[in-house]
């Protein structure tokens, strides 16, 4: 470390908030040039995520999904950021990124199979609220928050070492920045110039803890300074701002210039999870204020003002996906569940002897339960 006489660091981008359109869909500065088709795709992904989210809520209330972490209000961040990736890139999501999964190519059916742990669940009955699929280079999220951050860095470094032209992206919440994993991941990424993009969804709350109680830093983006990682703060409810920022970050990473920390300022409009009661800790008026800023309406207004969506188009998109997704739900609800044996599989590449013994115990116990006429589930 040298004696520095001139501060070479500007915190501007980490403290101000970048946005492309305002809360009523009016441009506030130069607009990125994005093909209409992509703009409509963006919109559609957000709508699909919103519909799927509300279904998962419903299915949880029906007892068919163990737990769901609502995405409502945060669609722009996950859709906008993920659209900046190429198919070959790797994604390390958290539990609140339905939009990202869709953008990567996961279908509603695959997501629902997962959530309902049907026989087709690609993760074979794994934990709740986590999604992933090798086909789409999505690594299933761990529930302990921030755990995935060092993984994203490691995968990025691995790609770099192997000479693969791959970028990784990872999502995490404001609360997650307090964890050691965040610290380690940002630090390693900075030191090794890993081609990784960190997308923080600062949705203002970590369950009941407001971001002011999470950190005394003025923003999340500014934390990048501690790691030599550029931090950029964007309006996370402005899908255009998120997309253009992510695109730049992904390009930067691909060019070998290292990681970026993007703070997408957004808001969780729903409860933390289906097990939460937000009225205990935050005011209705705060929620209402953020309802007005929600990303889908806002982007729709923009697209309509620009004439990219004509009258009725938005409703059409909504209705199309509403009925498609409903059909999928019906189909998935009908699938059989996973068989009991899965609970003893995939611990090792081959079952160890204790698991072989325990498989016998499991089978015998199932038989006995039948004999006894006892329902344990």
């Amino acid at each position: 470390m040298e004696v520095l006489e001139e501060p070479p660091i500007s915190l501007d981008k980490a403290l101000k908030m970048y946005r492309v359109i305002d809360e009523d869909g009016n441009p506030v500065g130069p607009e990125p040039s994005i093909p209409d088709k992509l703009l409509i795709d963006m919109y559609t992904y957000m709508v699909r995520a919103r519909i799927l989210d509300s279904w998962l809520l419903k299915l949880q209330r029906m007892g068919r999904v163990a737990l769901h972490a609502p995405n409502k209000g945060q669609e722009a961040a996950s859709v906008g950021a993920t659209l900046a990736l190429e198919g070959r890139d790797w994604l390390f999501p958290s539990y609140r990124e339905l939009g990202a999964l869709l953008v990567r190519g996961m279908s509603e059916e695959e997501i629902l199979d997962r959530a309902l742990t049907t026989i087709d669940d690609p993760l074979k009955g794994s934990d709740f609220a986590i999604y992933g699929h090798r086909k789409y280079n999505i690594v299933p999220a761990p529930v302990p928050v921030a755990n995935q951050l060092p993984h994203a860095v490691g995968a990025a470094l691995a790609a770099k070492i192997m000479g693969d032209d791959i970028v990784t992206m990872t999502f995490f919440g404001d609360g997650s920045t307090s964890r050691g994993d965040f610290h380690a991941a940002l630090n390693f990424a900075g030191v090794f110039k890993a081609p990784v993009v960190f997308v923080n969804q600062n949705n203002q709350w970590a369950i009941s803890v407001p971001v002011k109680r999470q950190t005394a830093a003025p923003t999340i983006a500014v934390k990048g300074v501690a790691y030599g990682v550029p931090g950029i703060r964007v309006d996370g409810n402005d899908v255009l701002a998120v997309y253009t920022t992510a695109l730049e970050a992904v390009d930067r990473a691909r060019r070998g210039e290292g990681p970026t920390l993007i703070e997408a300022v957004t808001y969780r409009l729903g409860p933390h999870t289906t097990a939460d009661d937000p009225d205990r800790y935050r005011s209705r008026s705060e929620v209402e204020e953020w309802e007005r800023r929600e990303p889908i309406r806002r982007f729709r207004l923009y697209l309509e003002k620009k004439g990219i969506l004509g009258p009725g188009d938005a409703e059409e998109i909504y209705r199309t996906w509403e009925s498609r997704i409903e059909e999928t739900v019906v189909k998935v609800l009908d699938k059989p569940p996973l068989p009991p044996e899965v609970i003893l599989e995939d611990v090792y590449s081959k079952p160890t002897w204790n698991l072989v013994e325990q498989m016998r115990e499991l089978e015998e116990s199932i038989k006995l339960l039948k004999e006894l006429g006892v329902e344990v589930e």
């Binding site: 302990p144 970590a206 609970i343 006995l368 006892v374 589930e377």
Partner: protein, 325 residues
């Protein structure tokens, strides 16, 4: 005497201890306004204020590390880990400091604190909201590990833990947070650490268990009695370390058969120590093999958790094994 569930009993224990002793503070994620995700700390912030009921940033390492510092200084912190499955980030602080500061300082400093946390399965919590990691704590010299199975014990054991001069890991089986209700005295009492509770008397087999598994063991005992007339004794260990070896031995002197039941995975689960202890020190008491009924040696599954956890069938199978040897 009011009827309470375990959440209410724990809440009352905290409240009474905080009233009794200004040094008792509560900290953790969402323990304040939210009252904890299971409402164990509900209302405490209103009575004791933000200084003593502290909503922390999302860092288990920070919660335990800071609680250790508080305890060093002279407070009696009760640190909540929201689910015990998230405790591992704090493992370095627990193993290297919470457990070792007394030893490291030649007895000059100590860390009288409680790490309390909901544990165990049975609520469809999946891989990271269901774990029973008590073995990690039991193996760590310097810690006391406790798990109540009733509201009465929950209150009395938590109070004893808060008053303990040694650091205590206090595990709360969340599946019975609200399902078991009983009379709980509205007044101050403690349940001593290190002593088991005889839940059911019997002559033929000793079942050693704790937490929610007490109730599974009782069901299996009933079944065995109905089917075969076997008389099953059930011991609730309550303190997992230092465990009440005398109670186990006393029971074995009568039954000569041992079954251990726990949710923690079998390999090096707490049952291993109990089994080995008996095989080492009291093998003459055993008529035949011991049996362990435990969580399978896998991560905790989201699906089929009732098959993963010891259930009436699996415990009954073990009883049959030791009786029919």
């Amino acid at each position: 005497m009011p009827v309470m569930n375990m959440v209410q009993a724990l809440n009352q224990a905290l409240r009474e201890e905080m009233r009794r002793d200004k040094r008792v503070v509560v900290l953790g994620e969402d323990v304040g306004r939210r009252g904890g995700v299971f409402l164990v700390t509900e209302g405490l912030i209103d009575e004791f204020g933000e200084d003593r009921v502290i909503d922390t940033p999302l860092s288990e390492m920070g919660i335990i590390g800071v609680a250790i510092g508080m305890a060093l200084y002279g407070l009696r912190p009760v640190a909540e880990i929201q689910f015990i499955d998230f405790v591992y980030e704090a493992f370095d602080q627990i193993v290297s400091n919470m457990a070792k500061i007394r030893y490291r300082s030649g007895g000059m400093y100590s860390v009288p604190m409680v790490l309390r946390s909901p544990c165990c399965g049975g609520i469809r919590g999946g891989m990271h909201h269901s774990q029973s990691p008590e073995s990690y704590f039991i193996h760590t010299a310097g810690l006391i590990t406790v798990m109540p199975s009733t509201p009465y014990d929950a209150k009395g054991l938590l109070k004893a833990s808060i008053r303990s001069e040694d650091p205590v890991v206090f595990l709360e089986p969340k599946s019975i947070y609200r399902t078991i209700k009983e009379d709980v005295p509205d007044r101050d009492y403690t349940v001593p650490l290190g002593r088991a509770r005889l839940v059911r008397e019997g002559d033929d087999v000793t079942v050693v268990t704790w937490g929610a598994m007490v109730y599974q063991a009782l069901e299996a005992a009933k079944l065995a009695e109905e089917k075969h007339g076997w008389s099953i004794e059930v011991l609730d260990l309550r303190t997992l370390f230092p465990f009440d070896k005398d109670a186990i031995v006393e029971s074995l002197e009568k039954t000569e058969r041992l079954v251990i039941v726990h949710e923690a995975p079998k390999t090096l689960g707490p049952g291993a120590e109990i089994g080995a202890y008996i095989a080492e020190n009291h093998i003459e008491l055993l008529r035949g093999p011991i049996a362990r009924v435990a969580g399978f040696d896998t991560p905790f599954p989201l699906v089929h958790e009732k098959l993963y956890m010891p259930n009436i069938a699996r415990i009954y199978m073990a009883l049959r094994k030791v009786m029919e040897y």
